[in-house]
């Protein structure tokens, strides 16, 4: 699929949301805030028996309910397999219903790629025995899950109702998991967060890269380790995949997502290091111009500003010379 596959889907969903909320407001202005939100999930085929629901190329807001990440559904003889679960319990429920209607089977397995709320918290709608996560993610959900959910309740509000912290009962290990006729090669990588699970499905050639790959949407860095992230992208580039489903952005054959993510990491790294070398503080470094090619990348300036807040203080703590007392 080209970018066009993403845009109409996203645009339609946003239009639906706007219409739904607007209509409620016109009839019941006082009650509209408490009106139940519904995620209108639109599956787009990415291979035979495989669909992706594309997230909006936006920050998490009370309007989009946190539905900004890509979530995929694969049909197998043993049941539906999900890659990530969306941001909330309500999203997870809608996803369950959609998987059932697409495949005619219940959800057998849910693989979580990483800790971030827009990918993981929807797993609270699934039985823990069906949910898989790497060892690092399982312990991070225990440690930080509550804070993650609290943060999402603050930002996305009522969309989050009923969302708890997922406790995946299955540990995703490096290696191959056979599910019915499909073979998932699991890769435990890191860099976007402390642990990023990628899945290569050998039969379809689909590579589910999680948030190690962003395409036409700026990467996020709150838990990033840039050298490890670059190394992980090298690993992904060597798999020999067919089409790549990024964590955010359109599905494409080839390595445009890998290359664009690498170029973005180099760009922010260079800008922030240059801001530091010039003696600029955080808000001054945020104001540095971005290269022209980033105009085609959604929320580029917003994510660059966030990355300055994540990365410049680390550089200061390491590279400002320590003075003798």
């Amino acid at each position: 699929m080209r970018a066009a596959d993403l845009l109409p889907a996203g645009a339609t969903r946003r239009r639906c949301l706007a219409l739904g909320l607007g209509a409620a407001a016109a009839i019941l202005p006082a009650a509209s805030r408490a009106a139940p939100r519904r995620y209108a999930l639109e599956p787009v085929p990415v291979a035979e028996g495989a669909w992706t629901i594309y997230g909006a190329a936006e920050p998490i807001t009370a309007q989009n309910g946190g539905a900004i990440a890509n979530v995929s559904i694969l049909d197998t003889r043993e049941g539906a397999v999900l890659i990530d679960a969306g941001p909330s319990h309500r999203y997870g429920e809608a996803l369950e219903a959609l998987a059932r209607s697409l495949t005619g089977k219940p959800v057998a397995h849910v693989f979580l790629t990483h800790l971030h709320a827009d990918h993981s918290l929807g797993a609270s709608a699934f039985a823990p025995e069906t949910v898989w996560a790497g060892a690092g993610l399982r312990s991070d959900l225990k440690r930080f899950g509550n804070d993650l959910a609290s943060g999402m309740y603050r930002v996305a509000g009522d969309w989050m109702r009923g969302t708890g912290v997922p406790a995946p009962a299955r540990e995703a290990r490096e290696g191959v998991e056979e599910v019915g006729e499909r073979r998932f090669r699991l890769l435990r990588l890191a860099g976007h967060t402390a642990e990023d699970l990628c899945l290569f499905e050998e039969r379809s050639g689909l590579l589910f890269a999680g948030d190690l790959v962003f395409l036409d949407r700026a990467p996020t860095t709150p838990d990033a380790d840039l050298p490890r992230w670059r190394a992980a992208l090298d690993t992904l580039a060597g798999i020999g995949h067919g089409r790549l489903v990024p964590g955010h952005g359109p599905t494409e054959a080839g390595r445009r997502g890998i290359d664009q993510t690498l170029a973005w990491l180099d760009m922010i790294d260079g800008r922030i290091a240059s801001g530091f070398e010039q003696g600029l503080d955080v808000t001054e470094t945020m104001a540095l111009p971005l290269p022209g090619w980033t105009e085609g990348v959604a929320v580029a300036r917003y994510e660059y500003a966030r990355s300055v807040m994540h990365l410049l203080p680390r550089i200061e703590g390491e590279r400002l010379p320590l003075l003798d007392a």
Partner: protein, 256 residues
């Protein structure tokens, strides 16, 4: 962004941020002197509050020329007065990180003689920077308490100073954590002449990180002296590099 002094409506006595607390804050902190809202006092904020315990704020009142003192005030914080800069021989400019309890106007007030010039912007935030323990358990580096990291850049208009001090800024509002903050930072030249004095409040973020611009000086070093609320003194000497041509060229390779 620099506002022209001649722009119409650049100055007004009506609070552009329409904050109900401002009149009482002005009464408390501006010493009975009149105040004017003035676009020449710029407050730079991030587009989103990423970490409410470390919000970067830069204040730039250089279009006013010389300023006697510069205050940073957050209307809706438990400790509204965040920082006071007395720029004896420094520019009216400061970069800092602060804690935010909730969405609030962030002000800067610059005093020129008997008149305050006030600028500011509203910062949106979700709540919890001051009275709620940090999301990820805070670790205090006691072993390096008071360690100073700093660097100076000689620029056309003066000496840019960036410094970071390893020190908690515990505001006393969290159970079982007593007040423990850095109260003052004094920057002098090698001969001991005071160039700038900064008073920090409970609202400044842990490991205070500041950017200042000192007036041009012939001195080859800066003396940094900080004092905390326990009365401990921390001092360090920072050499100022000789003037160099390539300081801020800022060119870098572009990725496709």
């Amino acid at each position: 962004m620099p506002a022209s002094p001649l722009a119409p409506n650049a100055s007004t006595i009506r609070d552009p941020l329409d904050s109900p607390l401002w009149p009482s804050l002005a009464e408390r902190h501006l010493g009975g002197r009149p105040a004017l809202f003035d676009d020449r006092v710029a407050v730079m904020l991030p587009p989103v509050t990423e970490d409410q315990t470390q919000v970067p704020v830069t204040v730039d009142a250089r279009p006013l020329g010389a300023v006697d003192e510069l205050l940073v005030i957050a209307d809706l914080n438990p400790f509204p007065l965040t920082l006071r800069l007395r720029p004896g021989a420094a520019q009216p400019f400061v970069g800092l990180r602060m804690k935010i309890e909730q969405g609030t106007p962030i002000r800067a007030a610059a005093r020129c003689g008997d008149l305050w010039h006030v600028g500011g912007r509203y910062l949106d935030a979700a709540g919890g920077g001051c009275s709620v323990p940090p999301v990820i358990e805070k670790t205090v580096d006691w072993k390096n308490l008071g360690a100073l990291r700093a660097r100076a850049w000689r620029e056309e208009e003066g000496v840019r100073l960036r410094l970071r001090m390893t020190h908690p800024l515990d505001n006393g509002m969290i159970a079982n954590v007593p007040l423990f903050i850095v109260e003052t930072l004094r920057v002098s030249d090698a001969s001991g002449r005071l160039l700038a004095e900064v008073s920090l409040s409970e609202a400044v973020a842990d490991n205070p990180t500041l950017t200042l611009i000192l007036d041009r000086t012939g001195s080859d070093a800066l003396i940094l002296a900080a004092r905390n609320s326990a009365g401990s003194d921390f001092r360090a000497r920072l050499p100022i590099p000789a003037p160099g041509p390539a300081a801020r060229a800022g060119s870098q390779p572009e990725s496709p």
